[in-house]
Amino acid sequence: DVKVTQSSRYLVKRTGEKVFLECVQDMDHENMFWYRQDPGLGLRLIYFSYDVKMKEKGDIPEGYSVSREKKERFSLILESTSTNQTSMYLCASSSPPTSGDPYEQYFGPGTRLTVT
């Protein structure tokens, strides 16, 4: 079974604090993704990565950065949190179309971040 794990299920932070959200997958997937999920807005892509050291901006990258130092690990960084970053954060991984199940994304359980 593919496993995608996220470092925390729930986090509460104060405005201005730095936050690291970590995601680890055990299926040797090349592609990894970070989304945020808000009621009525669905999933919005923040950043994604095709390989180690690579990153691509998604639809809403402002206020976020990412790091991928190892293939299995993809971190989302909130340098200085604000209340409008209160959300559910979901990590996912997938194989490229030439291998495995094309495009199918496997999701972690999510981190619910509250910024006060």
């Binding site: 994604f48 199940d101 199918e104 999510g110 619910r112």
Partner: protein, 118 residues
């Protein structure tokens, strides 16, 4: 660019009734289509996918979906729902592979909340 429209944001039904969750997509190329389910306070789980072949796709938990290329639809159905089917359901369409100039992302709809009442 691909896009996905889920026509209903909320669908309430009674237990043992049939349900259809509607999904329309727009794409100028051949695509792969997915339905994911999210139970409360959990991540998304794949329900079913259409890659090629038969347009009727069967998934887990008794769900099925029909790919209709002419209507660009991929509606999800279940003939008899249970209380445990209460969840949010997301339809998604794939982008092109990178070697074809795409991003290999999935484009998601905004979700449909299915509530099954006793």
């Amino acid at each position: 660019a691909q896009s996905v429209t889920q026509l209903d944001s909320q669908v309430p039904v009674f237990e043992e009734a049939p349900v259809e969750l509607r999904c329309n997509y727009s794409s100028s190329v051949s695509v792969y289509l997915f339905w994911y389910v999210q139970y409360p306070n959990q991540g998304l789980q794949l329900l079913l996918k259409y890659l090629s072949g038969s347009t009727l796709v069967k998934g887990i938990n008794g769900f099925e979906a029909e790919f209709n290329k002419s209507q660009t639809s991929f509606h999800l159905r279940k003939p008899s729902v249970h209380i445990s089917d209460t969840a949010e359901y997301f339809c998604a369409v794939s982008d092109l592979p990178r070697f074809q100039g795409g991003s290999e992302k999935l484009v998601f709809g905004k979700g449909t909340k299915l509530t099954v009442n006793p």
